[in-house]
C-alpha cells in the first residue's frame, strides 16, 4: 500500500479475504478524515460491494488478476476508485433490483447499495481495461477544511 497525504493506493489480490481487507482499510481512512461511525459503515459497505463486484464478476475469481483501490482525499470530498481487470460493464445495463421482477433475485443489489450510501456513483471503462467503480462522498460538516489525518492507514 502506498500512502501520501492526499492519495492512498491499494492493490489487492482477487481473493475472498480482499473483500474484508478493503473494507477494513476504508473504515480506517473514513475515520481518519472525520466521518462518524454510521457514515464510515456506509462508506465501508460501499467499497466492500465494489470489491465484491470486482472479485466475483469483473475478475471472475481469477487470482492472477488484481483489484486496484484508490482513495483521493480532495478538499471537499473523498473519491474512491475500485478497478478490476475484467471485461467491464455499463451502469445503465445493470438491472434495477427494486423492479418487481427482480425483488426475489439473490444478487444484483451491490451497486444499488453503493448508490444509496454514497453521494455519487459512476462506472467507467478505463483504457487500461476492466471496470472502474468511482464513488464520491462529501466530508461531514464538522470536519476541518483541509484533508488531514490520512498519513497512515
Amino acid at each position: 500500500m502506498r500512502v501520501s497525504t492526499q492519495r492512498i493506493e491499494v492493490t489487492l489480490e482477487t481473493l475472498l479475504e480482499s473483500v474484508d481487507l478493503a473494507e477494513d482499510i476504508t473504515l480506517r481512512v473514513a475515520n481518519a478524515v472525520g466521518f462518524d461511525e454510521e457514515q464510515g459503515y456506509r462508506i465501508g459497505m460501499s467499497v466492500r460491494e465494489a470489491v465484491i463486484n470486482a472479485y466475483s464478476y469483473g475478475n471472475n475469481q481469477d487470482r492472477a488478476r488484481r483489484i486496484f483501490v484508490v482513495f483521493e482525499l480532495l478538499p471537499a470530498h473523498m473519491v474512491i476508485h475500485v478497478r478490476d481487470q475484467g471485461a467491464g460493464f455499463r451502469l445503465e445495463d445493470v438491472p434495477d433490483p427494486l423492479a418487481e421482477e427482480n425483488l426475489l433475485k439473490t444478487s444484483g443489489r451491490g451497486l444499488f447499495l453503493i448508490r444509496s450510501f454514497m453521494d455519487g456513483l459512476d462506472v467507467t471503462r478505463p483504457q487500461s481495461g476492466g471496470a472502474e467503480v468511482i464513488m464520491t462522498k462529501r466530508y461531514p460538516a464538522s470536519r476541518a477544511a483541509s484533508p488531514a489525518g490520512a498519513s497512515e492507514a
Binding site: 475472498l16 466492500r48 466475483s56 427494486l98 425483488l103 443489489r109 451491490g110
Partner: protein, 115 residues
C-alpha cells in the same frame, strides 16, 4: 466473527438464533446449509432470529432471499425476528421489508404460521 447458529424447536416451528456476520463466503454459505438442513428434516416453519447479527452485505441479503424462496418452494414459511437497525434499514431500502414477514416478538412470530 463468522456466523453462528443454534436451533430451538417450538411446536412445529424452529427458531434459529443467529449471531455474527452474514456476508460473502462462509457466513452466507452457513446460512444456506442451515436452512437446507432444516428443510431436509421436515422443519418448514422457520424463524430467523437476527438480533445478534451485527453485519450483513448484499450477499447476505441475497442468501436471506434464497432461503425465503427455498422454504416457500417446500410449502413452508420463513420469518424474520428482531432485526437490528442496520438490517432493518437495508431491507427497507431494498424493498424487501415488504417481502419478508418481520416480527419483534418471538411468541407472535411462532404463532403467526398459517398451518
Amino acid at each position: 466473527m463468522d456466523l453462528k447458529a443454534t436451533n430451538r424447536d417450538i411446536g412445529s416451528a424452529t427458531v434459529v438464533d443467529i449471531s455474527g456476520r452474514i456476508t460473502l463466503g462462509e457466513g452466507s454459505a452457513a446460512l444456506r446449509t442451515l436452512v437446507r438442513q432444516l428443510l431436509d428434516h421436515g422443519r418448514k416453519q422457520i424463524v430467523l432470529n437476527l438480533a445478534d447479527v451485527n453485519y450483513i452485505d448484499s450477499s447476505g441479503i441475497g442468501e436471506l432471499v434464497s432461503s425465503f424462496t427455498a422454504v416457500k418452494k417446500e410449502g413452508g414459511e420463513l420469518k424474520l425476528l428482531n432485526l437490528t437497525k442496520k438490517i432493518h434499514d437495508l431491507l427497507l431500502i431494498t424493498k424487501l421489508f415488504t417481502v419478508f414477514d418481520v416480527h419483534t416478538d418471538e411468541q407472535k412470530a411462532v404463532s403467526s404460521f398459517t398451518s
